[in-house]
Amino acid sequence: MNLDIFLQQLVNGASLGSMYALIAIGYTMVYGVLRLINFAHGDIMMVGAFLTFFAMQSGIPFEAALIIGIAGAAIIGILTDKIAYKPLREAPKISLLITAIGISFFLENLFTVLFGSTPKAFKAPEYLTKIFHLGNIYLPISVIIIPTVTLLILAIVLWILYKTKYGMAIRALAFDIQTVKLMGIDADKIIMIVFIIGSSLAAIGGVFYAVSYPSIDPLMGIIVGLKAFAAAVLGGIGSVGGAVVGGFILGFTEIFVVAMFPELGGYKDAFAFFFLILVLLFKPTGIMGQDLERGRF
């Protein structure tokens, strides 16, 4: 592999890793406050991409459509929490998990019934798909923009977590819901904020996905969601930094293994789960996690 190809794949890996990272942050934050693997999260991503797509179809420019997609995903995220998860706050965690899987099936099938299962072509604006070249490397601009935006979003999320009182409440909630309430904090409001942040990021990840593989379908969230979940576990579930690290590791590995061993290309989706198994076998707390019983961001 010569340097040009290496650099090219590096950028591709960063771009793919960014999408995983954005979606993994939502998994990890919801886990932090609710101890729930929100299996509907990948489908929230799909909802975000679809809403953006429909907004664009009705003539709204991409940037505004993206905001509609983010807002729509956030609303669906809040609704799943209020309708499906909130009545189960005191229930055994397994009930919550099964409910999350139910919501996932519901969203996938609802969108299949409403809009059909045929993939729809996603026409990203030209400035994102334009090819530019640096020396011998040819790249669409999106692969530069996607990781940049992701790191910017990560900075904002970390700022919220560590510099605002809402972030402080989110971190405290990961330890002790009862005590947080005694501090006069409305725990349900804080959980809602977590769903807003997680779902918004998932929507952005979904739109990035749609831009890179220019098509969307109602089942797009399944495999990407599961991989992002693997990334969150790899990085250490509950840790936002870990989710990003895990996402990028997964992105780079997937791209490089396929680049170096093209004959393994058909198995690329398996790597994430291979990692997942290894992590669970040898370091269940992941790269940046310490103790599963104590959430941490």
Partner: protein, 258 residues
């Protein structure tokens, strides 16, 4: 009766078939330090959980400042002016001492989302005031040097102080302390007693205290109730409690049946 800040009125609490508290009533007067003692499993912490709204009693009422607060949610009870600490210290781990205390001020930080997001001047002013108050609290407890240390890195005695400071940050009128001296050595216990005396007069508090250390109870409490199997077996002055036959038999076993 009008100066009773807290009135426990005929409370019964059942968990399934088990009666944890049976028709319990007592009044805490404003400015008192009131003790709640009894053997393990007597229902002391259950009463705390009922007062702070974590549990809803099967029967009976809690009145605070002559208002019925039975079943008020925990995050609303705090605004009425009630704060508590826990028997097993429950700090927010991996957050600093300062952050732990700042969270207590959340109840008073009355700026809106809008102000927080757009960082309006009032927001900064409030943030600065709150931080100053947090440092004042830490100074009273002698834990200023740990402000930026992870709460879990502190000694047990100091963690207890952080927990009380965090409770005070919510600006309570009534402070519920669940075994504050548990696990402390005599020197730490002595120091704690002094601090509680100080904060009580500085912050104009009424204190309801669960404790096993009778020396500590004797020193701190004006009045106490002794519980056994969820029922009141004694109410009065600490000095009288330790010579009361029922109290002695509850703690040491009933020798007459032996």
């Amino acid at each position: 009766m009008s100066d009773a800040i807290l009135k426990i009125d005929n409370i019964t609490m059942q968990f399934g078939g088990v009666t944890a508290i049976k028709e319990l009533s007592f009044n805490v007067q404003k400015g008192q330090t009131y003790g709640l003692i009894g053997p393990n499993g007597a229902g002391k912490t259950t009463i705390f959980n009922i007062i702070t709204g974590n549990l809803k009693p099967t029967k009976g009422f809690v009145f605070f400042e002559n208002k019925n607060i039975t079943g008020t949610k925990p995050n609303k009870v705090v605004y009425k002016g009630i704060a508590r600490t826990f028997q097993n210290i429950r700090l927010f781990k991996s957050m600093t001492v300062l952050e732990n205390i700042l969270i207590g001020f959340d109840a008073q930080a009355n700026y809106s989302y809008f102000e927080a997001i757009f960082r309006l001047p009032r927001f900064f002013k409030r943030e600065r005031e709150i931080k100053e108050k947090a440092y004042e609290l830490m100074k009273i407890f002698g834990i200023t040097e740990f402000a930026n240390t992870n709460a879990t890195a502190l000694s047990y005695g100091n963690q207890r102080k952080v927990e009380i400071a965090r409770a005070l940050a919510t600006n309570p009128k009534l402070l519920l302390l669940d075994e504050p001296a548990a696990g402390m050595n005599p020197k730490e216990t002595d120091e704690l007693a002094n601090i509680i005396h100080k904060i009580k007069s500085d912050f104009n508090l009424t204190i309801l205290l669960i404790e096993h250390d009778m020396k500590f109870v004797n020193r701190m409490c004006d009045q106490l109730t002794v519980l056994d199997y969820g029922a009141k077996i004694f109410e009065g002055k600490p000095a009288d409690a330790i010579v009361d036959e029922k109290v002695i038999s509850a703690y040491l076993g009933d020798f007459s049946h032996a």
